[in-house]
């Protein structure tokens, strides 16, 4: 069988073309809130999708609601890429929207710089779970309020209050379809991380 020949030890040579280092940011929020749209608007490649087959075997009983009949469920993950120079690549991962796939978020969150939680003003409650998730794990995040057709009926402060967000979490009105708007949300997240790092260093 191929692969059983262990005669040649793995070399420790460096990668031929210099391999960039990767970092990632998660784009989270409820189902259909615009996560893949945001990934697509800033990514240098059309968003890619991986699908992971799934059984209920590893899920807690509480998570079985709704999927017990579906034996061939898959979890889809959409992602995009932004090259930051030659040595660094930023990946953006849209988290699976349905709450029953929360366990995927755990794996995704490991090693993430932070997250953007997208909120749909027409149904903000669909993003509560994402906000809870990042708050509980101490993962830094900003909130992007994705206006339906780019319209924003409420000011950011009103949304902050409605979501009971702490002061240090930025709330931005955005349009996930627009590259510049999505970029500004990502920059706000990085600025928030830089501010937190600076104040941690100062104390």
């Amino acid at each position: 069988m191929a692969g059983s020949d262990r005669a040649a030890p793995a070399p420790t040579a460096p990668a031929s073309p210099a391999a960039p280092e990767a970092v990632k940011i998660l784009i989270a929020g409820g189902f259909g809130v615009g996560k893949t749209t945001m990934v697509g608007s800033v990514s240098e490649i059309a968003p890619l999708r991986t699908e992971e087959p799934l059984t209920a075997a590893g899920l807690d009983v509480d998570d079985l609601a709704g999927i017990e009949e579906k034996r061939d469920t898959t979890v889809a993950l959409d992602f995009g890429r932004i090259s930051i120079g030659r040595e660094l690549v930023l990946y953006l991962f849209g988290t699976p929207g349905q709450q029953r796939f929360w366990f995927m978020w755990n794996d995704l969150a490991i090693g993430a710089l932070g997250a953007v939680v997208l909120v749909d003003v027409r149904r903000p409650e669909s993003s509560f779970a994402a906000i809870d998730f990042f708050e509980r794990r101490g993962i830094p995040f900003v909130v992007g309020v994705n206006g339906f057709h780019g319209r924003h009926p409420y000011p950011a402060e009103e949304i902050r209050e409605a979501l009971a967000l702490p002061e240090h979490v930025k709330v931005l009105l955005c349009d996930a379809r627009e590259r510049a708007s999505s970029r500004d949300v990502l920059i706000a997240l990085i600025d928030q991380l830089i501010d937190a790092a600076a104040s941690a260093a100062a104390s």
Binding site: A15, L48, T50, P140
Partner: protein, 119 residues
């Protein structure tokens, strides 16, 4: 046999991976960067078709998630195939930049910010 992986969450298609259920080496994350070695080792065992497809994809450095998406295979399967290639000395794997929330890397954050600013 495919029923014994009680610890895993995912059902893995085993046909491509010879029944192995775990990477034999290395910890591949979604954003681990893999690169085919050039030239390829001369004495190595002839790679299987799926291995060859991966080698073509990672002629330039590419993330594990991208390999999976472009091959339309689950990440869990791709990781096993990549482990084979790593073990055979055909690829190198670069782990992601470590993120430590206790001591954030200001230099890295600034680089990311500058990069986003250029978009």
């Amino acid at each position: 046999m495919t029923g014994g992986d009680t610890g895993g969450r995912l059902v893995r298609p085993f046909t491509l991976t010879g029944g192995r259920t775990r990477p034999s080496r290395a910890d591949f994350t979604l954003i681990t960067t893999v690169t085919a070695l050039d030239p390829q080792p001369a004495r190595a065992v002839r790679p299987q078709p799926e291995h060859l497809r991966i080698l073509r994809l990672c002629a330039e450095p590419v993330a594990v998630a991208e390999v999976a998406a472009r091959l339309d295979l689950p990440v869990s399967v791709v990781v096993i195939l990549l482990s084979d290639l790593l073990e055979a000395g055909r690829i190198t794997a670069r782990p992601p930049h470590p993120v430590d929330r206790a001591t954030p890397d200001l230099d890295l954050l600034q680089k990311v910010r500058d990069g986003l600013g250029r978009l």
